[in-house]
Symmetry: C2
Subunit: 251 residues, 2 copies
Amino acid sequence: MELFTVDDLPLIKEGDNIAAMICERTQPESHDVIVIASTIVAKSEAATILKDAIIPSERAVAMAKKCGTDPALVQVVLDNSVEQIVEFPVLLVENLNGHVSINAGIDDSNVDDRYFLHMPHDPDGSAKSIGLHIAELCGKDVSVIITDTNGRAFKIGQTGVAVGVYGVHPIKDWRGEKDLFGKVLEITEEAVADEIASAANLLMGEAAGSTPVVIVRGLNLYSSDDVSVKEMYRREGEDIIRKGLKCLRHS
Amino acid sequence: MELFTVDDLPLIKEGDNIAAMICERTQPESHDVIVIASTIVAKSEAATILKDAIIPSERAVAMAKKCGTDPALVQVVLDNSVEQIVEFPVLLVENLNGHVSINAGIDDSNVDDRYFLHMPHDPDGSAKSIGLHIAELCGKDVSVIITDTNGRAFKIGQTGVAVGVYGVHPIKDWRGEKDLFGKVLEITEEAVADEIASAANLLMGEAAGSTPVVIVRGLNLYSSDDVSVKEMYRREGEDIIRKGLKCLRHS
C-alpha cells in the first residue's frame, strides 16, 4: 500500500473544481482511494459564515461564557447540530449528518479571519460528486473519502476520521471468517474508512504546509454499492458512552 | 509513505525471537516504523493463561451472568485491570498499563482453545527490546509500535491502536505552528502512533490469513527520546467521557 500527496494545489476557493484540480496534477488508477480534507470541500462549496452577520442567542451567550469561548461560534455550532451531548468544558455535538464532534467541526483555522467554515452540507454527496467527476475526467473508478480530525475517548490527541464516503463501505465485516485455529470470529467489524483517514492524515499536516489531498493506492476495497458514512454511526440506544454523558448532564 | 507486510512468518510461540524473524525476512531501513500485532508479542512472551486453571470469584460469576459471557474470562479481565469502568453490557476496563479497552485486550481468537492470551506485561518495554534487537541485527534505528484493535466512542467498528511504542512519540504537537492565514494553531495534538497503527491494520487482517507485522516507510518521526504510550492516556480528572460512565454506574 502506498500513500502520496497531491502537490501544488492552490488555496481552494468557492466554485473550484476539486476533481479537475486533482486530475490535472496526478493520474489516478482504478480503485485508488482519494482522501480529501473536508476543509477544502467546504471552501469549494462556500460553506462559510460571515462572523459579523451572526447574532448569538441568549443561550449561546450563556454557554459561551461558561466555556470561555466565542458566543458567535457557539451560535453557529447550535445552528449546525441536532443535539448538544456535552456543553461544558467542551461543546460536543451531533451535527446535522449524525457525526459527533467538538464544535460540529466548525473551523476557525485555515480560513479567512472574517469567516467560520462549517462542514460540507452533504459529505457523502460531495464525495460521490467528486468521485464521479474523477471517473469522467480520468476514466478510472476511484473511491473518495472526505476527512476531518477528531478527538477520542480516554486519550489525548486527534486522528483523521471519515466524514463522507464514496466507493468504499466504512465498515469491513470480518464476522463469520475463521481465525488461525479455525474458530469463527464473532465480533470484529473494522472501521476501514476511519483507518484510511488516519493513514492519510499522517501526510496531510495541520499547519501552513498542509496538503489536503492524499491518494491511497493498493487497497482492494472498492465497492460499487451505494455507501454512506452513516453505516458506522452507532444508534443512540446502543451507545453506552452517550448514555453516560446524558447521565452527567442530568445529574 | 509506503506500507508492506512481512510475509511468511510462522505461527509465533513462546520464546520466539520476533526481531530476528523480521530481519531474516526483510531489510529494515533507518527510521522505518515496524508495526507488530500485540498477539504475537504476547505469544512470544508466553502471556497465556490456561483456562482450566482459572477459578472465577463470586463477583466474576455474577458479572459474567449479567453479560452472558464466560466467568473464567471475566476473572482474567478482573485480574488484568485496575478499574472496571463499564460492567454491562460490555466489560470496559483500564488495564494494568493504563490502556482502556473491552475485556482488557484478553483474547480468545488466534490462540489455542485451551488458553486465553493477555496483553504483553510491559508493551513499551517489549517494543524497546524488539527495536534495540533489530538495531543490533540490522544496524538500523527503527521505531516499533505494538498494536491492538479497539472500538471507539459513538461509532461502530474497531481501528488499530498503539499499545506500546519505541522510537516515536505517540502524540505530535502542532500547537504554536501557524495556519495558511498566519494564525497560530491552538489545540491540535495529533495521535500519530494510533494513526500509524490504523494504517498498518488495513494490511494486517483479523482472520486466518492475517499478517501480524507491517513496515511503514517514509514517515520522518523517529525520536531517540525515551517514549511511552502513556503520553497519550488522558488523566482521569480531565476525562469527561469517563466521568459520564461513572455517573451511569452510580445512577
